[in-house]
C-alpha cells in the first residue's frame, strides 16, 4: 500500500499538476486563437467595463434576476463552489505536505471547520445529482458524462472525509483519496469542469454584447 501511496502522491501527482496547469494554459490559448481566427469582430465590442460589471453581478449571490428566481440553487451553488475550492487549498494536512515537499506553507483551516466544509461539498454534489435527475429543464441537457464529472468532483471529498475519520480501511481510503485528487486535477481542463477556466470569458463576452450592442443588462 505504501508503494502505491508513494506512486499516487509522487510521480502521478506531478503528471496531474502538469496536466492541470499545462492543460489550462493550452485550453485558454487555443480558445483565444480560435476567436482571433473566426470571430475577430467580437473585439469591436469587447469592453472591460461591461465585462467586469457582468462578472461582478454574477459572482455575488442574489445580485442577478436568475439568482433571485432560484434561491435554493443559489445558496447551494455558492457554498458548494466556495467549499470546493477553499477546503483542499487551506486544509492543514495538505499544507503540511506542501511544506515537507517544497518548503512553502500558508494559513490553514481548523480541521473541524474543514470537516464541515467537506460535508457541504458532498451534500452539494447530492443536490446537483438529484436536480439532474428530477428537474425536466436540467434533465433535458444532461448526458452520461455529467454524472461522470459529478463523481470525479465528489470522489476526493468522499474518500477524504472517510480517510480523515479513519472509517473503513484507512490506508486504502488514503490511497484512493490521493488517486481521486489526481484524476480531478487532470480532468479539469479537458472536461466541462473547464467552466472554472472559461466562465470569466463567457461572462465577459455576454456582458460586453449586452452592454455595448444591445444596450441592456445581462443580470
Amino acid at each position: 500500500m505504501h508503494t502505491f501511496y508513494n506512486f499516487v502522491s509522487g510521480p502521478l501527482a506531478w503528471v496531474a499538476f502538469i496536466l492541470f496547469f499545462g492543460g489550462s494554459i493550452y485550453r485558454i490559448a487555443s480558445m483565444l486563437k480560435l476567436v482571433a481566427e473566426k470571430e475577430r469582430f467580437i473585439f469591436s465590442y469587447m469592453s472591460w467595463r461591461y465585462s467586469l460589471r457582468s462578472i461582478l453581478h454574477w459572482i455575488i449571490p442574489f445580485a442577478t434576476v436568475n439568482w433571485r428566481r432560484q434561491p435554493v440553487l443559489t445558496v447551494v451553488t455558492f457554498t458548494f463552489h466556495l467549499c470546493l475550492l477553499a477546503t483542499p487549498i487551506f486544509l492543514l494536512s495538505h499544507v503540511v505536505l506542501w511544506d515537507e515537499a517544497f518548503n512553502v506553507s500558508w494559513w490553514t483551516l481548523p480541521d473541524a471547520v474543514a470537516d464541515v466544509m467537506t460535508i457541504i461539498v458532498i451534500l452539494g454534489a447530492v443536490y446537483f445529482l438529484v436536480r439532474r435527475v428530477t428537474q425536466p429543464e436540467v434533465k433535458f441537457v444532461t448526458s452520461a458524462s455529467d454524472f461522470v464529472i459529478l463523481t470525479i468532483v465528489a470522489a476526493p471529498f468522499i474518500t477524504g472525509f472517510l480517510a480523515y475519520h479513519q472509517w473503513l480501511s484507512y490506508p486504502l481510503m488514503m490511497c484512493l483519496h490521493v488517486l481521486a485528487g489526481d484524476i480531478l486535477l487532470a480532468a479539469m481542463p479537458f472536461t466541462r469542469l473547464s467552466h472554472m477556466l472559461f466562465s470569466p470569458f463567457t461572462r465577459a463576452y455576454m456582458g460586453s454584447e449586452f452592454g455595448k450592442v444591445r444596450h441592456a443588462r445581462d443580470w
Binding site: 501511496y5 515537507e100 480517510a163 484507512y170 490506508p171
Partner: protein, 126 residues
C-alpha cells in the same frame, strides 16, 4: 463506610496510582504534544522502546540530535531535552518548526528505510 471498605478502597486507589505513574515513566507510547496550543490531530502513536528495538536503533542521537550553526554534532545527543526546546512552533531559517521536525524525523526515516508508517492517520490514530 465500614473500616474494611475504607482500607480496601484506599489500597485500590494507591495501587492504581502507583501502577499508572510507573507506566508514564517507563513506557512512552505517544509523542508528547503539550507544546501545541490547539492540536488538530491526536498525538502520534510512538512506543519508544519497542520501536527502537524493532528498528535496531542503539544510538540516542539518531533522533535526539544536536545541531550547531546548521551542522550536526557527531558525538552529542539531546535526550535530556524536549524537542520543543529547540524546535518552536514557527520554525526559522534552517531550523524546522516542531510539526515539521516530527514529520521529517519520523516519516523521513520511514521513507528512507521503506519501513514504518508514512500516511497521516497511521500515526495520528483517531
Amino acid at each position: 463506610m465500614k473500616t474494611v471498605t475504607r482500607i480496601a478502597l484506599s489500597l485500590a486507589i494507591g495501587i492504581v496510582l502507583a501502577i499508572t505513574s510507573a507506566w508514564s515513566q517507563d513506557d512512552m507510547t505517544i509523542v508528547d504534544n503539550a507544546a501545541f496550543d490547539n492540536p488538530q490531530r491526536t498525538p502520534s502513536v510512538f512506543v519508544h522502546d519497542a520501536h527502537n528495538e524493532a528498528a535496531g536503533i542503539d544510538d540516542c542521537a539518531e533522533c535526539h540530535h544536536v545541531y550547531e550553526d546548521g551542522k550536526r554534532l557527531e558525538d552529542e545527543s539531546s535526550e535530556d531535552q524536549s524537542c520543543s526546546e529547540c524546535h518552536d512552533l514557527k520554525g526559522s531559517g534552517g531550523q524546522p518548526s516542531l510539526i515539521k521536525a516530527f514529520h521529517t524525523s519520523c516519516k523521513g526515516c520511514h521513507q528512507a528505510q521503506k519501513k514504518g508508517p508514512i500516511m497521516c492517520g497511521e500515526c495520528h490514530i483517531k
